[in-house]
């Protein structure tokens, strides 16, 4: 695995989440696909990314709220999964998915620490607002710091995640059918919970039910 390439991607993804340019390469579906592509297995990246994305749909970065950092976690989890020789198994996917869903909390915590730590950087030594040139330089510096933070979070995630995947996945004695079923059930529950993002059942039940009917039609056409 090319750790520098993954760390670079993690830095870019972490930056995209909030700092620059917010074009959504930080979404788990995109981040995991890109990671898989870099590491030679985009299909596995998409599979993990799609699952992580489903779990992230209802995570909204509104105002100054604290939220998990899904992008870097997705990069780390995908790289960890693909570091295993048993990358295509459901056990490996389960370990990587659970790891990613936990590691995003660590990433989110580093974002909070980072945001608090740059407050003083944006003031003069006497606590006043910065002159114009210094503001531009310090603003650019914060972009660099966020990139570095995200890269380090990704590297940490890859190292820890790889170790967990390699040691835990072969030891998890679970039938593949059970894992697949459990993931489907968990994903369905989370998707149901996501309707609240669009206004909830009372406001959007017609659109939701129409969509489910369209899903049936799509199923019938396959």
């Amino acid at each position: 695995m090319s750790l520098p390439a993954v760390a670079l991607l993690g830095g870019i993804v972490g930056l995209d989440a909030t700092s620059f340019p917010q074009v959504m390469i930080s979404r788990p579906l995109v981040a995991a696909t890109l990671t898989g592509w870099i590491l030679g297995d985009p299909a596995s990246g998409v599979a993990l990314g799609a699952l992580h994305e489903i779990f992230s749909l209802a995570v909204l970065p509104v105002g100054a709220s604290r939220y998990p950092e899904t992008g870097t976690a997705s990069v780390a989890a995908t790289a960890a999964m693909l570091s295993s020789t048993a990358a295509g198994t459901w056990s490996t996917l389960l370990v990587a998915l659970v790891f990613g869903l936990l590691w995003e909390r660590v990433g989110g915590a580093t974002v909070v620490i980072y945001r608090r730590s740059i407050e003083k950087l944006l003031l003069t030594t006497s606590g006043d607002a910065l002159p114009s040139r210094k503001l531009e330089l310090r603003h650019a510096l914060t972009l660099g710091l966020d990139f570095a933070r995200a890269s380090l979070v990704t590297i940490g995630g890859v190292l820890l995640g790889s170790s967990l995947v390699v040691h835990l996945a072969p030891r998890a004695d679970l039938p593949a059918g059970l894992i697949r079923g459990a993931i489907a059930v968990a994903a369905a529950a989370v998707l149901g919970g996501t309707l609240g993002v669009f206004g909830g059942w009372s406001e959007r039940h017609k659109a939701f039910v129409l969509g489910a009917v369209a899903g049936c039609a799509l199923l019938a056409l396959r």
Partner: protein, 237 residues
């Protein structure tokens, strides 16, 4: 200013929120407004570093309006009142339109395509292109609105297509969510079309609809417990 607006949240912090970033975005225009008046330029740069917030894609509305007000020589208290008044609308409209509308709706389209069997090199770019078309158009539109209307931009915002787009994006999102939910419950995501799984998934979907987004944590815990159970089983066998 438009290019700089892509980095407006770069220095986001809990003291000034996007205050520093907002001043960063304004600087090219302020240098033009206050050319040959460096003291006034620095005073303007300082006052615009005060706490401020906005949805990042709509910051152009405020930035354009502030530039117009600065050009017209509006006194600092007027600028401060304007920014205080507009920040709430820009935040709530942007959050409703993008974070709770366009973003989940466009990524849901990609997910439906992926789960239905479309190649990733089609689904993922479709998401990125759709989303960023809306994103970049909104940023550009915001700057034009702000520069055109100045202090009256709030009225322009209320009459704009943005508010109507919020409802449309949410309906499209709910539709795609319904489609994806059905496909996932039917087992397409995990290649598991066992009847028991489908029944359990439909029940879980119902629970999720009833509970809301709080279901996320128990769902993650449940997967974690399944993993732990597998490890224990492996250790004991």
């Amino acid at each position: 200013m438009l290019v700089r607006s892509f980095a407006v949240q770069g220095s986001f912090n809990y003291r000034t929120l996007i205050g520093a970033g907002f001043a960063f975005v304004l600087l090219p225009a302020l240098r033009h407004v206050f050319r040959e008046r460096p003291d006034e330029l620095e005073a303007a740069a300082r006052r615009h570093q005060e706490p401020f917030n906005s949805h990042p894609y709509l910051v152009g509305v405020a930035a354009g309006a502030v530039v117009r007000l600065e050009q017209e020589g509006a006194p600092p208290p007027v600028l401060e009142r304007f920014k205080s008044a507009i920040r709430g609308s820009l935040g709530s409209v942007g959050d409703a339109l993008f974070w709770a509308g366009v973003r989940p709706a466009s990524v849901l389209l990609a997910l439906v395509l992926v789960v239905a069997g479309a190649p990733f090199w089609l689904a993922v770019p479709i998401f990125l292109m759709l989303y960023n078309a809306a994103h970049v158009l909104t940023r550009t539109w915001g700057f034009r609105m702000g520069l055109k209307h100045g202090a009256g931009v709030a009225a322009g915002l209320r009459e704009s297509v943005l508010l109507r787009a919020v409802g449309a994006a949410a309906s499209i999102g709910a539709f795609l969510l319904g489609a994806l939910s059905l496909l996932v419950a039917a087992g397409l995501l995990t290649e598991n079309s066992a009847l028991l799984t489908t029944i359990a998934a439909m029940a879980a979907l119902g629970v999720g609809l009833a509970v809301g987004s709080m279901i996320r944590f128990p769902a993650v815990v449940a997967l974690g417990l399944l993993l732990i159970a597998g490890l224990l089983r492996g250790a004991l066998s």
